[in-house]
Structure formats: C-alpha cells, structure tokens
C-alpha cells in the first residue's frame, strides 16, 4: 500500500518537500496520524485533505497509489 502525498502552502515550510510517500495506511485518519508522527509541527496547522483531487471531510478509505494532498487555507485572488 503506497500513498503519494503532495504538500502545499505553509505546510511545505514544515515538510521541506513538496512530495513524499507514505506506506501501509488504510485511511485518511491513519495517514494524518503517521504524517504528524513524522512532522509534529503539522499538528499546529489546520488543513484540508484532498484524495485524488477531491476534498474529503470524513475519514476516507485509501487505495494503493492514491494521491493525497495536504491543503492549508486557500489564499488566491
């Protein structure tokens, strides 16, 4: 089980990479927990999660090779 992670905005200042890979997680809650273990500073930020470009509000099942994006508050325009 391999999940591709994309990191944007101020969250990039924490991870220092725009892409990473997380293995052996089954859903978005497990994924978030694993990410926070790896980057504790992430817990200080509010961010949305998009699975394959769709924002998910609730814990969501992940499939192999899914792309999950970590999206801090938008500030376009």
């Amino acid at each position: 089980m391999k999940i591709n992670i994309l990191v944007f905005g101020q969250l990039y200042d924490i991870t220092k990479v725009s892409q990473l890979t997380i293995y052996e997680v089954n859903n978005t809650e497990q994924l978030t927990r694993k990410l926070i273990e790896q980057f504790p500073e992430l817990s200080k930020f509010k961010f949305s999660i998009a699975v394959n470009k769709k924002i998910v509000q609730q814990n969501t099942i992940l499939n192999n090779e899914d792309t999950v994006a970590l999206l801090p508050a938008f500030s376009g325009g």
């Binding site: 944007f8 994006a69 508050a73 376009g76």
Partner: protein, 147 residues
Amino acid sequence: MIDKKKRTVFKEGAITPSFIADSIAAHSRKNNIGAHDIFLGQVRNDLIDNKTVVAIEYTAYQEMAEQKFYEIREAVFAKYNLVCLHIYHSIGVVKTGEICLFVFVSSVHRKEAFDACREIVEQVKLLVPIWGKEIFEDESSVWKENK
C-alpha cells in the same frame, strides 16, 4: 453561441493591461453581447509588522485548481444566462500594483454579468487551491490569509 471551452486559467507572472485590452477587443465580433463586467485583483502593499509587501508569489495545486475553475465555470453558466466567461489567475511572482486575477463576464443585459462576476470571484477565493506568499522588501515572507 455559448463559449464554454475548458482552458488554462493560470498565467505566469502578472496579467498585463495589454492582455486585458486585447481580451476586450476580441469580443467586438460577438454582437449579441450588451454588457461586460470585469473584476481585476491587484496585489496590495499591505503593512505587516512594519514591513511592506512588495510582491506575492502564487503557488497552486494546479491539476485540482483547473478542475475547480472548470466546475465554477459550469455552475455559473448553468445559473446565469451568459454569453461568455473568462478567468485568469497568476502563478509565480506578481509585484504590488500588478494584476493577479482577471474575471471577464459577458451577457446580453447587465444584471447577469454583475451577479455572475461577483459570484465567480467569491468562489475562486473560497474553492480554488491557490496560495499566496507575501514577500517583503528584505526578501522575508509570510503566507497570505484571505479576508
């Protein structure tokens, strides 16, 4: 004829006044249009902790953003009777005083253009994964927050 093709929204750097002028000129052939409404977002020289913003660097989740722009276009076309609609947003560095967002709505009568234009701008700010980093004179920066 309704013009609702899927197209690229992002433009590298500032959106130039000449590009905007050319866009207006390109509509002179569409004789059924009676009203255009245009919104231009301009980078502002905010003062934050006694430092002045000199530019904003925009980044985006481009694939998702293009999808969102497409959905916004579809929803607005479904809701309002428009002739055409164009949205452009900068990516990369835009200096203060330069244009970073260009929304151009055309309809037969003014009301639809006004209403649709406002709705698009609000939706873009709310739904599209774009981030602005405000850059100061000393090259330090903070992430922008939308009000």
